[in-house]
């Protein structure tokens, strides 16, 4: 029996430039107890379609035509015909919503349990034992109501907050749960735990589930049916196995192939003989017993390595949030002073450089960060951002020529992008411009901190290929900092897996990621939702067992060394 039937729905957004048809003629049904994934890139209409069922479209969007039937309603089942109060009563009681922003979806000034109480009271009036209701709801998602109930949202981790949202979303046993990218802000281990909790609760109350997302792997591991949307049109719909194994629409194929697989085909352009870097007597970059302590937290335990610049290499630093990987990045860039030890670039301690040496260091060591938009001054056209460092560092050559060359090297048409403002470009274009900007200075070393985590999946491979070309064609060594093991597998020559500021496993990627030996690395790989139905994600029990594994690893894990590569030495011990 279907819980929700969406029939020929059209959703329009009137704007000053004319009407945008966000959703065009979508028809589908959600069966009781069944999970449907809505997949597509940003702007595909996946969230808009789902929110139309709750009548919560963002302004000025409206349903131009079509019907949305919630079959448990009495009489007229079309929710579009309900009055405001009727719709309010449907929300949460019949259709609940689990929002995307796990970090910010709870009222910061209310205790967790009070945010369950107000929901219960809004639908059932003054209920006798609110405390018991919130306790049951929190227990259901594996949180201790005695402790967590009394806390404020800022005292919870991201995963806990999202489990609170699941508790709220299921406390009135709705017919349908709409989960809008509920795990997009979480690391893979937490993602698996939250997703499994959601599935478990959904199965328990027998509700239908609409899971909105862009990650084909997560969909493959979480839903029964997949609806693929592109530009507001439902391009493909079917059971998950059919969609994953025999996709028909080219867009579906593209979405599946955009998830890099470990061991799968490489997305990089192969290059026969990469140019040599500079030959030096000292390492290009050396960390000598570097550690970093913030107050009572040790972000990075003493670490030593030496990277030789002659044979350019890509060294990946892989870890989840809080692993210390970004701390390492900022230490290597000299943005942060190490608590102990020294960072040396070509033999010079970067924290003891004169102003002139530092300028030279800044020129030779470039960075690419996560958010390319934040790297541009929004008031200037992008060519300003590209020219400025070139002129500031007193580089030789014609800036216009260099700028065009750099844009072409990252696959952008300079005549199209250079005259624009940052907001007029896509996230992928912006990030490629940042890479081009770095390239113009012919640096010796590039530090890329999560360079592709904020761009659409289909563009990630292209940008990583651009970064890889920096090594192959321009002889630049690269430190690639990421949470994504699959991309690290493909691009890097050497991988270090970080956990709580310790290296837990290090070596060539084929060893470390292809055949992990450390319990933590194995856990990371197992937690990744692969777009491969034969590679099972496990159930809620496995997700909880993962937490036990973490507890067992504890705060001072052993390091597993998986072999060396020439030109890079990791300090052992």
């Amino acid at each position: 029996m279907s819980v929700l039937d969406i029939k020929n729905i059209h959703i329009d957004f009137p704007t000053s430039k004319g009407v945008v048809h966000a959703v065009t003629d979508v028809t589908l049904s959600v069966e009781k107890g069944r999970r449907i994934g809505f997949i597509g890139e940003s702007g595909s209409g996946k969230t808009t379609t789902a929110l139309a069922a709750m009548r919560m479209l963002a302004n000025p969007g409206f349903v131009a035509s079509g019907e949305v039937h919630l079959n448990s309603l009495e009489g007229d089942t079309n929710v579009l015909h309900l009055d405001e109060e009727g719709m309010r009563r449907v929300r949460l009681r019949k259709i609940s919503y689990i929002p995307q922003g796990a970090m910010n979806s709870l009222n910061p000034v209310m205790r967790v349990e009070a945010q369950i109480w107000d929901a219960v009271v809004a639908h059932e009036g003054a209920v006798e034992d609110l405390q018991a209701r919130s306790d049951t709801a929190l227990e259901g998602v594996g949180l201790d109501p005695k402790v967590v109930g009394r806390l404020y949202p800022h005292e919870l981790s991201g995963g806990m907050k999202q489990r609170v949202c699941i508790a709220i979303g299921t406390c009135l046993t709705p017919d349908l749960i709409i989960a809008d990218e509920p795990t997009s802000a979480l690391d893979v281990i937490t993602q698996r735990h939250v997703m499994q909790t959601l599935r478990e609760m959904q199965a328990k109350i027998g509700a239908g589930l609409i899971l909105i997302g862009h990650d084909m792997g997560l969909m493959a591991q979480s839903v029964d049916d997949i609806a693929v949307l592109k530009k507001g049109v439902l391009v493909e719909f079917g059971p998950v196995r059919q969609i994953i194994e025999n996709p028909e629409h080219p867009y579906t194929k593209e979405l599946i192939s955009s998830v890099p697989l470990v061991g799968g085909e490489s997305f990089l352009h192969a290059q026969a003989a990469p140019p040599k870097g500079e030959k030096l007597d000292v390492p290009l970059l050396e960390l000598d017993g570097v550690s970093k302590v913030y107050g009572s937290v040790t972000a990075l335990h003493p670490m030593s390595f030496a990277l030789d610049g002659e044979e350019p290499k890509i060294i990946s630093i892989v870890g989840q949030s809080g692993s210390g990987k970004s701390t390492m990045g900022s230490l290597m860039l000299g943005f942060n002073d190490p608590t102990a030890g020294a960072v040396r670039f070509k033999g010079d301690d970067i924290n003891r450089m004169t102003a002139g040496e530092r300028l030279e260091f800044r020129k030779q060591v470039q960075a690419v960060f996560q958010d390319p938009y934040a790297c541009f001054n929004p008031f200037y056209r992008v060519n300003h951002a590209l020219k400025f460092p070139f002129e500031n560092f007193g580089m030789q050559g014609d800036v216009e020529v260099e700028m065009h060359k750099a844009c072409e090297a990252v696959g952008l048409d300079p005549s199209l992008v250079l005259g624009r403002y940052p907001h007029q470009l896509s996230g992928g274009q912006r990030q490629r411009l940042i890479v081009a900007r770095a390239l113009m200075l012919s640096p010796k070393l590039l530090i890329a901190d999560e360079p592709v985590s904020m761009v659409d999946a289909s563009l990630r491979a292209t940008i990583l290929a651009n970064i890889h070309d920096l090594k192959d064609k321009h002889g630049i060594s690269i430190i690639y900092i990421t949470h994504d093991l699959a991309t690290a597998y493909h691009v890097s020559d050497y991988v270090m897996v970080l956990y709580h500021g310790h290296v837990v496993e290090a070596g060539p990627p084929k060893e470390v990621i292809g055949d992990p030996q450390h319990a933590y690395t194995r856990l990371l790989i197992d937690s990744i939702p692969w777009p491969d139905l034969d590679r099972d994600w496990g159930d809620a029990g496995d997700a909880r067992a993962a937490l036990d594994v973490l507890a067992e690893i504890g705060g001072t894990p052993e390091t597993v060394y998986r072999g060396d590569i020439p030109g890079f030495t990791l300090g052992q011990g």
Binding site: M54, M56, V90, L92, P99, S105, P108, V109
Partner: protein, 335 residues
């Protein structure tokens, strides 16, 4: 937890002390930087006044001692700090020999009463209107009227005061033109006196409310727009909560937090009064005291009033800092 709170308290208290101390020091230094010797200025004014002034010798002597030209600077400074911290600001030169502390003591309750009432009314009206400008369920006529009301914000309070005087005192004889209470009632704790005070306070208070609510409304509008887009507001709606509950408990409750800090700063400022408003309504508050003191170059009064203003601002900020953890739980551990 307790330890954190103790440290928070200590930090705030230290800030309070430091602010007041630095302010007192600046008030001491600044007149000394002036190329004009205040005593010479006094003498000049007396001379230009023509006749001999009674007590002029005593005034001079008192000023000499006050500015302490007979002592080394550190003694002067020490005496000044000691006197200031015990609220001994010396004697007024224009109303010699009234102690400055007594003049401030007489004026302060009027200003605090009037301005506090005006500020609280403005804060409530301004924030509510600002919130309603953003709320999606505000009735349409209100959404058109509220922005139009912002016109008043661009008006100086002296103009709104004169306008209100003209309408409600001159044309319609509803409220008295000036003063803080009727000369026909005794200043005592009686109903008729309190009634008279309120009757006299309405117009000056209104003239301030009318021109300052826009400050709060526009600030609140910006904050509400941010809060309206927050995920917790979206989730509140998805939870099927009632719209008024969402407005108060989710939106205003969060948007108002920065406004409360601004409120504390305003409390300190209001001690200075709306100088011109007090002037045109002949209201016997701090504003009028300061105005008169500037006209007569009554340095001890100016210094005393300045110190009280700074002290009040620092105290208000201190109090809000103490209360802030109660209204924003994120401060509790983060402070």
């Amino acid at each position: 937890m307790e330890n954190t709170f103790a440290r928070y308290l200590f930090n705030r208290f230290f800030t309070l002390f430091l602010t007041v101390f630095i302010a007192a020091t600046l008030i001491w230094i600044i007149p000394r930087l002036s190329p004009v010797n205040p005593i010479d200025a006094m003498l000049g004014r007396m001379a230009s006044g023509g006749g001999t002034i009674e007590n002029s010798g005593a005034i001079m002597e008192q000023l000499m001692e006050r500015f302490g030209f007979n002592d080394p600077w550190y003694v002067q400074y020490w005496l000044y700090i000691r006197n200031t911290l015990t609220f001994d600001f010396g004697l007024s030169t224009s109303s010699f020999p009234t102690p400055v502390a007594q003049m401030i003591g007489d004026a302060l309750p009027w200003t605090i009463g009037l301005m506090m009432v005006a500020l609280i009314i403005t804060f409530i009206i301004g924030n509510l209107l600002g919130a309603l400008m953003v709320w999606e369920h505000t009735p349409r006529p209100w959404k058109a009227v509220i922005p139009a009301m912002m016109v008043f914000t661009s008006m100086p309070p002296i103009l709104s005061g004169l306008l209100l005087m003209y309408i409600f005192s001159s044309t319609l004889p509803w409220f008295p033109l000036n003063g803080a209470y009727s000369i026909r009632v005794e200043p005592e704790l009686s109903l008729s006196f309190i009634g008279s005070v309120i009757h006299h306070g309405v117009l000056p208070a209104m003239s301030i409310v009318v021109v300052t609510f826009g400050f709060w409304a526009l600030g609140m509008r910006g904050l509400m727009i941010t809060v309206q887009g927050e995920d917790y507001t979206v989730l509140a709606k998805a939870k099927g909560l009632k719209k008024r509950y969402i407005l108060y408990k989710y939106m205003i409750r969060n948007a108002i937090l920065p406004q409360i800090t601004a409120f504390a700063l305003k409390i300190g400022m209001l001690v200075a009064g709306q100088v011109l408003v007090e002037r045109i309504f002949a209201y016997p508050g701090m504003g009028k005291l300061l105005y008169d003191a500037i006209l007569t170059q009554d340095y001890p009064v100016i210094q005393g009033v300045s110190f009280v203003i700074i002290l009040m601002t620092a105290l208000a900020v201190f109090l809000v800092d103490l209360l802030y953890p109660l209204i924003d739980p994120r401060i509790r551990l983060g402070g």
